[in-house]
């Protein structure tokens, strides 16, 4: 919250990520990637499987280093931002701790911040309520279904209140109804707190429904091929029926299809945005 509103939430400049560089199993995951996420902006990342979305989130989160290029978060280096806890992250795998109950898994980030015991418990129960798992507070992670585990992980990522949320396919294993509920919860939280959010998803409607901009990535080596602005205003029940919603969905879909075909026609589109 000490960040001035003017500096972008995320700023990637010429970021490359090459795994196993120089070895036979070298993989270029990100190639010369440039991206700016404005303060308070909701950006969705979309692209074929294995194109580098998770890698990009990990570079932003300073969980891995860019091979080349610079990454700034809230005007700081990625490392500083991590150290100052400028972001919260929901991982693609739930990564729950088997030795903690569901509730205590949610409490973990609060514990690390030194929040008192009863406050922690209260906050955790509130979040479990939100993801509709209050009944399972005392269970162990392996007693939960895949979707339930994912919801616990979401609750955990929301436990503290960082200005930036990085979410990697958080709703992937949820059924449509629950997913819509969670989407609306996320939008509510965002509205109330003014968080910036970078959100990876495979669902085009989800990307469009949630975000201000949809960033489309190409298959390996991961590059940004398209950025589609979405201006739907406040989301509500009717948004999904909105003409503009369908337009945006179609635009994203085409951008993605173009990707699969590949080619220069798409490249030029970036200029438009």
């Amino acid at each position: 919250m000490t960040t001035t509103v003017t500096s972008p939430a995320v700023k990637a400049e010429g970021v490359w990520k090459i795994f196993n560089e120089g070895q036979p199993n070298e993989v270029t995951a990100l190639q010369d990637l440039n991206l700016e996420v404005g303060y308070g902006e909701f950006v969705a990342l979309i692209g074929p499987s294995g194109c580098g979305k998770s890698t990009l989130l990990r570079v932003i989160a300073d969980l891995t280093h860019a091979t080349r290029g610079t990454m700034q978060v809230a005007g700081l280096t990625a490392a500083q931002a991590r150290e100052q806890q400028k972001y919260g992250m929901a991982f693609q795998q739930a990564a729950l701790f088997d030795w903690r109950t569901v509730r205590r898994n949610v409490e973990l980030p609060l514990e690390l911040q030194g929040v008192g015991k009863s406050d922690r418990a209260a906050r955790a129960m509130e979040l479990l309520e939100m993801v509709q798992l209050a009944d399972f507070a005392g269970h162990r992670p392996w007693e939960l279904s895949g979707g339930m585990q994912q919801r616990v992980a979401i609750a955990r990522s929301l436990a503290v209140d960082p200005p930036l949320l990085l979410m990697d396919e958080p709703f992937g294993a949820l059924d449509e109804m629950t997913r819509e509920r969670m989407q609306n919860e996320l939008l509510r939280i965002r509205k109330e707190t003014g968080k910036s959010i970078v959100f990876v998803t495979h669902s085009i409607p989800e990307a469009v429904y949630l975000s201000d901009r949809v960033v489309v990535m190409s298959p390996r080596p991961g590059r940004i091929t398209d950025i589609i602005e979405v201006s739907l205003g406040d989301r509500n029940e009717d948004t999904r029926e909105d003409e503009r919603f369908f337009e945006a969905v179609t635009a994203v879909r085409e951008a993605l299809r173009g990707n699969h075909g590949g080619g220069s026609a798409i490249r030029s589109r970036i200029g438009e945005v």
């Binding site: 969980l63 795998q93 030795w99």
Partner: protein
């Protein structure tokens, strides 16, 4: 109830079969007690000398327990340090391996010379050294063998190394630690016992076994051995109980 029975009867059955076989072989082949005493002889020797065996057992069990506890603490602490500081790790690992491979028999005379032979100290030290290694090796493994996803999570939460140790490494190491304990607990008994062969106060199991065996009183010697086995098993059982208490999550793989 049924659960508990399932826990108890297999060892009882195996023990009964084993002892019956032993007794049978001794009786049928007319094996003389100077070679191998029959279980019946061991048990009569035991009952003839219950209070003597008990006192010796208490003495040796105390040594073993002290050594086990201190060894666990030291082993765990150094493993923790080794997982935190690479220098400690690199230095301690070969040293620990060397120390562990020092045969107790070779170590005891030296410790007996360095410390007062008439005290319990050299024996406790021998036990500590023996206990230390399995604990250190297992805990070190448990502290470092962490799912990458878990470490990433902690990193994203900017958890300090200490917090990562407390919240991830230590719980993750618990099953490894207990595996080490399972090895260390019986070893502590044998270490405390063997350390007695070389001198010092003579009221423990080791001295009694040595003295009885030297006089070919194998029935008596094995009565003391039986006591040592019982102590070892009790120590082990305590570890099993501890395992159920502190790592309730580890049994799940078998539930399928």
């Amino acid at each position: 109830m049924g659960q508990r029975l399932r826990l108890i009867w297999p060892p009882v059955v195996v023990a009964a079969v084993f002892l019956a076989l032993w007794q049978g072989i001794v009786v049928v082949n007319d094996i003389k007690p100077y070679l191998l005493p029959a279980p019946s002889l061991i048990f009569t020797s035991l009952f003839d000398n219950v209070s003597g065996v008990f006192d010796a057992t208490v003495y040796t069990a105390t040594t073993a327990f002290l050594g086990l506890m201190i060894g666990i603490v030291i082993g765990t602490l150094i493993a923790l340090l080794a997982s935190r500081f690479i220098v400690v790790n690199k230095l301690a690992t070969p040293l620990a391996a060397g120390l562990a491979a020092v045969p107790i028999i070779a170590l005891t005379p030296i410790l007996n010379n360095m410390f007062d032979i008439t005290s319990r100290t050299p024996r406790v030290l021998v036990t500590i050294i023996i206990v230390f290694f399995p604990i250190f090796v297992n805990v070190t493994r448990g502290l470092t063998q962490i799912q990458p996803a878990h470490l990433e999570l902690m990193r994203s939460l900017n958890a300090s190394a200490g917090k990562v140790a407390r919240l991830v490494r230590i719980p993750n190491a618990l099953p490894f630690f207990l595996t080490g304990m399972k090895v260390a607990a019986p070893l502590s008994v044998i270490a405390a016992l063997v350390a007695e062969y070389f001198g010092g106060p003579q009221q423990g199991l080791g001295a009694r076994i040595a003295s009885s065996a030297a006089n070919t009183a194998y029935g008596r010697a094995w009565a003391y051995v039986t006591a040592a086995i019982v102590v070892g098993l009790l120590f082990y059982l305590a570890v099993l109980l501890l395992e159920r208490l502190v790592t309730p999550w580890t049994g799940r793989a078998r539930s399928a």
